[in-house]
Amino acid sequence: MTDFNIPDVALSNAQIAWRAAQDIEDGSYVNLGIGFPEMIAKFQPDGRDVTYHTENGVLGFGKAPLEGEEDWDLINAGKKAITLKPGASFFHHADSFAMVRGGHLDLAVLGAYQIAQNGDLANWRVGSKGVPAVGGAMDLVHGAKRVAVVTDHVTKDGKPKLVESCTFPLTGVGCVTRVYTSLAVIDIADGKFVLKEKLPAVTLAQLQSVTGATLHIDGEVADLIVPEDL
């Protein structure tokens, strides 16, 4: 299916996270999904004042504490120990999801199994087997002013994650507006994937060959350039 070897050129998770971090605006309120998206906070550009929200009722948390200095009553939604920044606050779960659902967050960044060209997201289970778990994902895809995804461009066995329509169970309908992948940055608008940036080493034809739906061009396609040493 591909005429190029994706692992030779694909960005690492850290590089994808770095690219996503560049778009976090100064003064914004942001929720980073559990796992891979959490890494984005590490790459927040200097000089930007960002307030992080976590579903379990904390606003304004900072870095992880040193090992051995954890207070396990102070954790994030991923159950990791956190610290507080000045101006932090605690609140109960209903107020926390009022922040999510009520449109108070500027940005939520999530992981994905599949993203459809209409913005549908599938990220909570891949079938009907095993123990299902949904957490806050179905809430986070609604309400935040911007919902973005960070993901490898293809699955481990090379199948497209950007598709015409999702085959895995949906997390939300028409909710994603930007996808940061290991090969490209793609916006979703009017039911279409619109290519904004791609790795210089990958041709448009190559990128299309590993994408499950048509990539549209609307204006310039910039080079996706990230630090090499991440």
């Binding site: 307030t51 101006g87 606050s89 605690f90 107020d95 009022a98």
Partner: protein, 239 residues
């Protein structure tokens, strides 16, 4: 992310004609009197903002605050639960003359509609007002044998609220029963402007004691010796 605004005039300067404005307070407690008066002063000086809709539990008393807004002629509509009172002449006169609109909402429904707006809940069911004229035209539904009315969220363009302690990132506490509608309105408006009696640096409020987290507040202005509405009403002060 310093949300501090240096003065009252600047804090209310962006409110346009026709804006829907939530104003905190209940009776004589918790109202942002200085913000309201700054808005009236602007209207008197410039003619704007005119024809605003005000959301509050009451419709103003005496000759200050919301009553003074109404008297000044800048309010086109009130959304409230209890406009009637012994010294609410400003509203009464305009209402009986047909010069101001009124949407009457039961107090608990008013609070819940505002909270729903802040929480992204477009509609909910409440037993309140079922079978009364205030439920006319609203969908109803039965759950477990009891009947309920469906109510919609209530949003605003701006909220003017009053806190006790505030910090530069917008965290707030409230004084005594001055809390009332203030934390709810902070959640429900596109832009929330808070006057606070004591303004500190980020972190001066214990994170466990924050009542309104800063995410709900867009602008904070310090008014260190705020006027108390009830005292103004009782002493007949006119703004």
């Amino acid at each position: 992310m310093d949300k501090t605004i240096p003065n009252l005039e600047k804090a209310i300067s962006e409110i346009p004609d026709g804006a829907q404005i939530m104003i905190g307070g209940f009776g004589g407690s918790g109202a942002p009197i200085e913000l309201i008066h700054a808005l009236i002063d602007r209207f008197r000086a410039t003619g704007s903002p005119k024809n605003v809709t005000v959301i509050n539990n009451n419709a103003g008393n005496g000759f200050i605050g919301i009553a003074a807004m109404i008297k000044a002629g800048m309010v086109g509509k009130m959304i409230c639960s209890f406009p009637r009172s012994s010294n609410a002449e400003a509203f009464n006169e305009k209402y009986l003359a047909g010069d101001i609109k009124l949407e009457l909402v039961p107090q608990g429904t008013l609070a819940e509609r505002i909270r729903a707006a802040g929480a992204g809940i477009p509609a909910f069911y409440t037993p309140s007002s079922f079978g009364t004229e205030l439920a006319n035209g609203k969908p109803t539904e039965e759950f477990e044998g009891k009947r309920y009315v469906r109510e919609r969220w209530l949003k605003a363009d701006f909220a003017l609220i009053k806190g006790q302690e505030g910090d530069t990132v917008g965290n707030l506490t409230y004084r005594l029963a001055g809390r009332n509608f203030n934390p709810l309105m902070a959640m429900a408006a596109d832009k929330t402007i808070a006057q606070v009696t004591v303004l500190g640096a980020a972190g001066t409020i214990n994170p466990e004691q924050v009542i309104t987290p800063g995410i709900f507040v867009d602008a904070v202005v310090e008014v260190s010796n705020p006027q108390q509405e009830e005292v103004l009403v009782r002493t007949g002060v006119v703004h």
